[in-house]
């Protein structure tokens, strides 16, 4: 309990500022125990993944991991090379990306339009909000059987499934953003006599932007999730189809290449949204530095 010593002496005999400073600065001198997690480690985030990779590689090299269950890392890398060389990866990726982007586009447009209508008018809210909340309670993926019956197993069913998954978070967060705009700003807008279009442009839309961008981050994740499912259920092309086919032939290396591609797509798209967020919301970031 030597750590407590300085405080005790301080209360008993008055210590001058200089003395106190020298005690504190003395190397190896009594210090309080730090309770926080401590200073950040450089590249600390890479520690876990690197460890995992090392275990995987060591296990494969030592023959502890059966390649039928999990291919060795180097096999995965060379398979990826082969897939790129014969163009299969690119064409499947292009198909998948097109589905995801189209679904995202329609979903965002629908979510945004519905949120604006329901956020700005009480009548709109009455008509729109209920059905959206009901839709929210039903997972989009549970709708797939019905969507297949309605739209067949073609591209439109896939894009619609993705859009249905995307529009909910966009709607929820944009609507919330619109509704939580401080009423004092509306009052200000009245005193400086903004017209309704001016009010929308200068107050409402910028005020709802943080909510929309948060919804966008969820939407991007939702788009990839829905993509994986529709491609593994009914598809003849795309990354999911490629993985599904590999499962039939027991090619774990190709499955892992697919997983890595999905992971990278998720990371890159989330990074893009965050970049846009940082640019568009720089007025909010300034305090954080």
């Amino acid at each position: 309990m030597s750590a407590h010593a300085p405080t005790l002496t301080k209360t008993k005999t008055p210590v001058t500022a200089a003395e106190a400073a020298s005690t504190a600065a003395a190397p190896g001198g009594p210090r309080r125990r730090r309770l926080g997690p401590g200073r950040p480690i450089r590249y600390g985030w890479a520690l876990g993944p690197a460890l995992l990779l090392a275990v995987w590689a060591a296990g494969s090299a030592a023959g502890l991991i059966d390649p039928r269950n999990l291919s060795a890392p180097w096999t995965v890398v060379s398979t990826a090379g082969d897939l790129i060389a014969d163009g299969r990866l690119q064409s499947n990726l292009a198909t998948s990306a097109q589905r995801a982007l189209l679904g995202l586009l329609f979903g965002v447009a629908a979510g945004l339009a519905l949120a604006v209508v329901s956020g700005l008018s009480r009548l709109g809210e009455g008509v729109i909000d209920g059905p959206v909340q009901i839709k929210r309670a039903i997972p989009s993926l549970a709708l797939i059987p019905l969507l297949i019956l309605w739209f067949g197993i073609g591209e439109s069913m896939k894009v619609i499934t993705i859009a249905l998954g995307v529009f909910v978070p966009i709607y929820i967060h944009t609507h919330n953003g619109l509704r939580t705009i401080d009423n004092r700003y509306a009052e200000l807008a009245e005193t400086v006599r903004l017209s309704r279009p001016q009010f929308l442009r200068h107050v409402v839309l910028p005020g709802a932007l943080p909510g929309f961008l948060l919804g966008m981050r969820f939407a991007v994740t939702a788009a990839w999730l829905a993509l994986v499912v529709v491609e593994q259920v009914n598809a003849t092309s795309g990354i999911g189809y490629m993985m599904e086919l590999a499962r039939t032939y027991g090619q774990t290396d190709i499955i892992i290449v697919g997983l890595v591609v999905y992971g990278l797509l998720g990371l890159v798209s989330d990074g893009l949204v965050r970049l846009v967020e940082r640019r568009a919301l720089s007025w909010r970031r300034t305090l954080a530095g």
């Binding site: 700003y185 009052e187 200000l188 005193t191």
Partner: protein
């Protein structure tokens, strides 16, 4: 004045404004020459009458401070004048100029607009930005046009808010405890700035405050609101306002405090000594 009446009752608060008063009575009521004339104003929240037959007029370019205990209806009156009392029922008559600006207690800047964008919010015309820059220079914020509101101190934010009000060249400036959230030193600087700006632009001013000293220092006339009516209406001579230590100042301060229901001997002079503060400023 007739034109102003019409413009306001159609423009800002339909219904609530002239209810109970026959049309056409307006221009003849009140003191002649007032920019603001309020007659028989009643405002109620439920059964509680906050303003009860209030009469007040403000001359062009006159600086009036409105004192009152909390809940005395100060803000209700200000909001009625600013046309912001949508959901309040009431009767009576208000004549106010077409150009009214409001300064709120919080600076109320849009956080997603830079300083200049906030100042020129809603302004039109090709010279809007230039006028905005000039207004910012007037409040001493030249060069901060591109700053975000969060980057400014509380006093600076309130100065931006003043610039936003004055760039509209209002005939009436309504201020609802605009310095209430500022520290004492900043408040004194803001007093000086506000007086200077008002002397230059000459709007009629209604300043709501709970601070007796602020009222005496700034205003040409101090009005005390009590029980929904004007309980006292005291002119402040320049001799009084500029000499904090003078017996006249102390007498006026005591009188106003008494009107507000505070025993002047209770108010510890050491707690708020205007003389000491002035020497700091």
């Amino acid at each position: 004045m007739a034109a102003h009446t019409g413009g306001l009752s159609t423009g800002t608060t339909p219904g609530a404004r002239n209810t109970g008063t026959a049309p056409g009575v307006g221009p003849t009521t009140g003191t002649a020459g007032g920019v603001v004339r309020i007659a028989g104003l009643v405002r109620a929240f439920g059964d509680r009458k906050v303003l009860d037959g209030l009469e007040l007029s403000i001359a062009a370019g006159e600086f009036v401070a409105l004192l009152g205990r909390s809940g005395s209806g100060k803000s209700t009156l200000l909001r009625a004048l600013g046309g912001l009392d949508h959901e309040v029922t009431g009767t009576g008559e208000i004549i106010a100029p077409a150009e009214v600006s409001v300064v709120f207690q919080d600076a109320r800047l849009l956080p997603w607009k830079r300083v200049l964008g906030n100042v020129v919010l809603g302004l039109t015309g090709p010279d809007a930005l230039d006028r905005g820059r000039a207004a910012l220079a007037e409040v001493g914020l030249q060069g901060r046009e591109k700053a975000w509101p969060v980057e400014l101190s509380g006093g600076e934010q309130q100065r931006v808010s003043l610039a936003r009000s004055l760039v509209r060249e209002p005939e009436l400036l309504l201020a609802d405890e605009p310095f209430g959230a500022l520290d004492a030193l900043t408040r004194i600087r803001m007093h000086t700035l506000l007086r200077r700006l008002c002397e230059r632009h000459r709007p009629a001013v209604l300043l709501v405050t709970h601070d007796v000293d602020e009222a005496i220092v700034l205003a040409d006339r101090v009005v005390v609101l009590d029980e929904g009516r004007i309980a006292a209406d005291v002119p402040v001579g320049p001799a009084v306002a500029r000499r904090h230590g003078s017996p006249e100042y102390a007498a006026l301060r005591d009188e106003l405090l008494a009107r507000l229901g505070v025993d002047p001997t209770e108010a510890d002079p050491a707690a708020f000594d205007p003389t000491a503060q002035e020497s700091v400023a």
